[in-house]
């Protein structure tokens, strides 16, 4: 707790982080955030001077995949470094304290840094109208804890698709009445870092931006940072030339799959998914799903669990069967048949009751 009185620069030096490593981090962060190289010294100076912000990390209806994504990489990494730049005062998976001591740490940090701390949320939470018992921490409902923590938060970062959009808990039929963080927050700056899990560097990039500039980065309409979510997977995919040429893998082990052709026909959601996987890749830049031969699931988009089969191409409608179409068509035919029969009967009846009219009779009617 005392560490947070230090600036980021002082703290990093205390931790034995060299100036060179720090500048490498600044260069990588500037590049990630699409800042001009001329801004790197400014970013370094700003980060150096910045006070380490207190961070409260609330984990609600989540699987810990987002925390795994952020922390489980080979040390030392840039991701590690960002963790040194913040004072992570509460994260019930990572912290040593447990039970009442953990909750006391959270309350203390919230009190000491009121109005200044960053609130990170991963996981969705049962909404205000749902049964709060579906997810509680230390007997406190997720909703009550979020509302309490929100009061003194400077900004909120929703990490992962569950926190950003509701994710798996919110998928139909949403038994726990789960909602996204942005459904509940109206008056605080909010960033959604979606993904299941999000690319670790995206989480750290947002934190670096906040530390350096004291504000959140530019966002898209889903409150996602444009620097990372501005372009679709499809537009940055290295397999895109195959799409453009019309060369597609049709099964997972055909010639096309082995040749690395486009995975559109195997259900790739890359065209409609906005994320940084194609450029930043995973596991320290080793690979990413499409490079590993699997179509993009679209995990950083809202309702990706309810968007039809992961293996159905993007153009295929959801929840429809040919049987139903044919049944409705047959019902239509029945209606048409009835109309035709009635028409024919009308004609026949008219023909049967037809009265011949002479020209003289017609003239009388004029």
């Amino acid at each position: 707790m005392t560490a947070k009185k230090h600036s980021v620069g002082e703290h990093l030096r205390d931790q034995g982080v060299s100036r060179r490593t720090f500048l490498k981090f600044c260069t990588a962060s500037a590049s990630l955030l699409a800042l001009s190289p001329g801004l790197i010294p400014a970013l370094a100076a700003a980060l150096e001077q910045a006070q380490r912000p207190s961070v409260i990390w609330l984990s609600f209806q989540e699987c810990t995949g987002c925390t795994e994504s952020l922390t489980r990489s080979h040390a030392p990494t840039l991701e590690d470094l960002i963790l040194e730049m913040i004072s992570l005062d509460y994260h019930h998976t990572l912290q040593a304290a447990a039970g009442e001591a953990a909750e006391a740490a959270r309350e203390q940090a919230m009190k000491d840094n009121f109005g200044r701390y960053l609130l990170i949320v991963d996981g969705s939470l049962p909404g205000p109208d749902a049964n709060p018992g579906y997810s509680t921490i230390a007997g406190v409902s997720n909703y009550a804890m979020l509302m309490e923590a929100l009061k003194g938060a400077a900004a909120v970062i929703a990490v992962g698709t569950c926190a950003a959009f509701g994710g798996l808990p919110e998928a139909a039929p949403n038994p726990t009445g789960a909602v996204a963080v942005m459904d509940l927050i109206k008056d605080k700056p909010l960033v959604n870092v979606s993904g299941c899990p999000p690319v670790p560097m995206v989480i750290t990039g947002v934190l670096a931006h906040y530390l350096a500039f004291g504000r959140l980065p530019e966002l898209d309409e889903y409150h996602r940072p444009l620097a990372f979510f501005g372009q679709s997977i499809h537009d940055r995919c290295y397999r895109r030339p195959f799409y453009d040429k019309g060369l597609f893998a049709e099964t997972f082990d055909d010639e096309g799959a082995r040749a690395g052709w486009c995975l559109y026909r195997l259900g790739c959601k890359g065209p409609s998914t906005y994320n940084a996987c194609a450029t930043m890749r995973w596991n320290s830049g080793t690979s990413w799903p499409i490079e590993a031969g699997h179509p993009c699931l679209g995990c950083s988009e809202p309702r990706f669990w309810d968007a039809g089969s992961f293996y159905a191409p993007l153009s295929v409608p959801t929840g429809l069967s040919s049987t139903r179409i044919l049944t409705v068509g047959a019902a239509g035919a029945l209606i048409g048949g009835t109309v035709a029969t009635l028409a024919r009967r009308t004609v026949e009846t008219a023909a049967a009751s037809r009265q011949p009219v002479t020209a003289a009779e017609l003239e009388q009617t004029l």
Partner: protein, 223 residues
């Protein structure tokens, strides 16, 4: 969290519930129209047939698809532009890989497609030809007077479905879920209008041609 107002919510709505409604109206309407037409049939002909009906019927389905020299001489613009955009529309509809996947997803049948850039080019040509037909219709004194609201509606919905497809493929509307949603929505409008407007000719043109040919065959005249 999503609603209709956000791009992904809109796309999923057009791909899900709205598609179900559109295809149901289409199937119901087309089933009714076709059953009515086929069951009413033709007026019974009691004269002794001079030849068979089937072969001349099928032959006419084919020959009437090709422009005849007389019509070409009278209205070359109509024949050329009409042929170009009809063929372009069919190529884009039936030979674009995502459309083939859609049909495969619904009915389990599929066929080989064409490379995307080729379909893209064909679509661009189709759009130009469609625009030309509208300009021609608006400027031609006879067509101008013959045209009804339905003609313009049918043109608009056809143009819209091709245009939105072109914009979506070339990613000219952002974000993409909005572009694709707009394309699917216009295709749904097309499907809904199809059985109740002259768009029904997609199916009935061939039936009409067969009836003509069969009638010629029966009377022993050239089909």
């Amino acid at each position: 969290m999503t609603a209709l107002t956000d791009p992904m919510g809109f796309l999923l709505f057009t791909k899900g519930p709205l598609f179900n409604i559109a295809i149901a109206i289409f199937a119901l309407g087309l089933g009714a129209r076709l059953a009515e037409i086929l069951l009413l049939g033709r007026r019974p002909n009691f004269a002794e047939p001079r030849a068979g009906e089937w072969l001349p019927g099928l032959r006419t389905v084919f020959t009437r698809t090709l422009p005849d020299p007389g019509t070409f001489k009278r209205a070359p613009f109509n024949v050329v532009t009409g042929l170009i955009w009809h063929l372009g529309f069919l190529v884009a509809l039936l030979l674009f890989i995502p459309h083939i996947e859609l049909i495969k997803g619904l009915f389990g049948v599929s066929w080989p497609g064409l490379p995307n850039p080729f379909v893209d080019l064909v679509t661009a040509v189709t759009l130009v030809a469609l625009a030309a037909t509208l300009v021609h219709r608006l400027n031609h004194p006879v067509k101008q007077r013959l045209s009804t609201v339905e003609d313009y509606l049918v043109w608009a919905v056809t143009f819209l479905v091709v245009l939105t497809g072109y914009l979506a493929y070339n990613r000219l509307i952002n974000p993409y879920p909005l572009a694709l949603g707009l394309h699917i929505l216009s295709a749904e409008l097309f499907l809904i209008l199809l059985p109740f407007t002259k768009l029904t000719h997609i199916f009935t043109a061939f039936i009409a041609r067969w009836y003509n040919g069969a009638s010629f065959g029966r009377r022993g005249v050239q089909s």
